[in-house]
Point group: none
């Protein structure tokens, strides 16, 4: 486990630097200097610079994926809206706890490498598809207005991403308030007009 501790140490420092300067402007020299290890040691733990970066990216995608849970419809489950709220809250709390990681995902990862681009693209695609499925179900249940659920899903995803970025930047409101507003906005955007009125201020 000594090995894992070393890796973690390097990852921690690399994360900070990647978040600040991006992949290309970060050089191995700075990582090893910050992590207080020798240049050669770096390559004992990571195949190369790119692999390290990918590992950080994998970390953030895995964690985010874990925090976005599928809506459960069984009896005894919290209401769907409550589950959405919980999802959002888990995502936003992660954002606040791991700003640097989120920064890497949001700002420094696209256009860096074909494979990685695809990996990230795929993640968002999956999230968007999950939202779309929920919307389609909502329509079937008469809760969601009839609409192009593909586009609507993108709008919701985009709204969340932008709010996440804003939150990570440290500007704007508290996590709780942002969660409520994003949820409120998203729900009203797709809700059946007749139901929209029932969405109270606190949703």
């Amino acid at each position: 486990m000594e090995r894992q501790a070393r890796r973690a140490q390097v990852l921690r420092h690399a994360k900070r630097i990647f978040a600040r300067k991006g992949y290309h402007r970060t050089n191995v020299a700075e990582i090893v200097s910050q992590a207080r290890i020798a240049r050669g040691t770096f390559y004992l733990y990571f195949d190369n610079k790119k692999e390290l970066f990918e590992e950080l990216l994998e970390q953030v995608l895995r964690e985010l994926a874990a925090r976005i849970r599928r809506i459960q419809m069984g009896p005894g489950e919290p209401s769907p809206i409550e589950q959405l709220r919980a999802n959002l809250r888990r995502v936003m709390e992660f954002v606040m706890a791991e700003r640097e990681l989120v920064d890497i995902l949001l700002n420094h990862s696209v256009g860096f490498d074909k494979n990685l681009d695809a990996r990230i693209q795929e993640f968002y695609e999956r999230v968007a598809a999950q939202i779309k499925r929920s919307l389609d179900l909502g329509i079937a249940m008469g809760l969601v207005r009839s609409c192009d659920t593909g586009v609507a899903a993108r709008c919701i995803l985009g709204g969340v991403k932008e709010s996440v970025a804003q939150l990570s930047r440290g500007a704007g409101a508290e996590v709780g308030e942002v969660v409520e507003e994003v949820l409120n906005f998203g729900l009203r955007g797709v809700a059946q007009p007749e139901l929209s009125g029932h969405l109270a201020a606190g949703v």
Copy 2:
């Protein structure tokens, strides 16, 4: 005007390559090879690689800014919703016409340089502020529900960005449909519940 034609030629090729590979992975050698000019010729028209990139970025920001017009409230003006629709349409049409440029903005520009980052940040900030002002006005006029307009503005901006990206990627629906859906979604997301019902399918 010969000079401008040459510049344009180089810009055209560079745009394509930057869009595909990003700033760092694009090298001057490839630009000049694609543009069928000699290495030195490049430097007759641009100070350096960065300056060329910035010019492309400036181009897209300028064009987008020009296409997003402030909502006019005077008599004889089209309805605010119609003006929003026109804004969205102009933006989306530009996206379709200049996918590569939009790609550069969306995927390859953040985390590249302090100044450029700030330049882009500022652009989005301005757009978000414009949206927020509209929402605040909407609240005063009783058209928009009471909400955290800062967060809501970010949600709208995010939704547009994500839809734009999707559109640029070539996936999904037609421009017209996307415009309508984004508009519809955004309006309902912030509209007074009583008015939401009046937003017909075609808004």
Copy 3:
């Protein structure tokens, strides 16, 4: 003669720039820009940058050589000292009139090119040899003390060069005073001790 005028114009500007920045840091772009001619035109008048530089150097060496006259011993000639003084004066007056050219010779010409180095070396060698011959003659005539005339000739040449540089730099005394002091110093340095006393203040 139009052609000669053009050449002269370019030479004049090039001279100034070479004097200020040296051969390597002066580029053809600046020369043609200052001379208000097109880049291509430059090559109608000069084979290349180096040739232009050599021409300037040739100019200064030729002019200096012309101003350093062999001492004439016949009856009716001015005294040898008077002839030395005239030589020195002619050299120094040229220095003051053509500082830029002298600067090129003194500061920017050595170590630039094998051939040119040899050319300059040879010039100084010739001057040194001339001085040495005079000293040898002086010894034969009992005017000059017995000494290593090779080294003494170098000392005299060095003294003149250094004084010339100082003069060109604009620091120090008037031409007349410098001429007298250099002459006085040089003569005393080599004169027979018995004659040294006869060299009055004004030599």
Copy 4:
């Protein structure tokens, strides 16, 4: 000290090449090839080509400065003339031992860079000033004839420089003879006529 040895190795080779070809015509490729190191290794030891050159220049100026000692007038000190002779000898011996370094100073350093030019200029200025002070003192003591000591100092400096260059070129006499002749010449050039006779052949 390993590091110092490496630096020294590179400096040694660079010195030789700079001496032969000057700063601009020497390229890093040749230095590393001669020093049998890789291109990148060069930059482990020196920031860039210019810094390396400056270090060599600094070396020669520092060493020369150390070898030129102020004349001490106290009892028990060697006679002033003996001290001058020792200074000259130390300088000339350094010249013979480090011809390449001296070549760099004498032939390749002027007109290369504003700062460096100033650095060298200043060095000579200081030496000239030191000579001038000695002459002024000599006048006060009745040993030196009344003269423009500024110009005389330049003549002496020039004589030494020229002799040094000659010596470095390998032409001419032995160090010992040159020292004696330069000293003799310089002293007689400025001595009170009455004393000039007392300066025997061996000064």
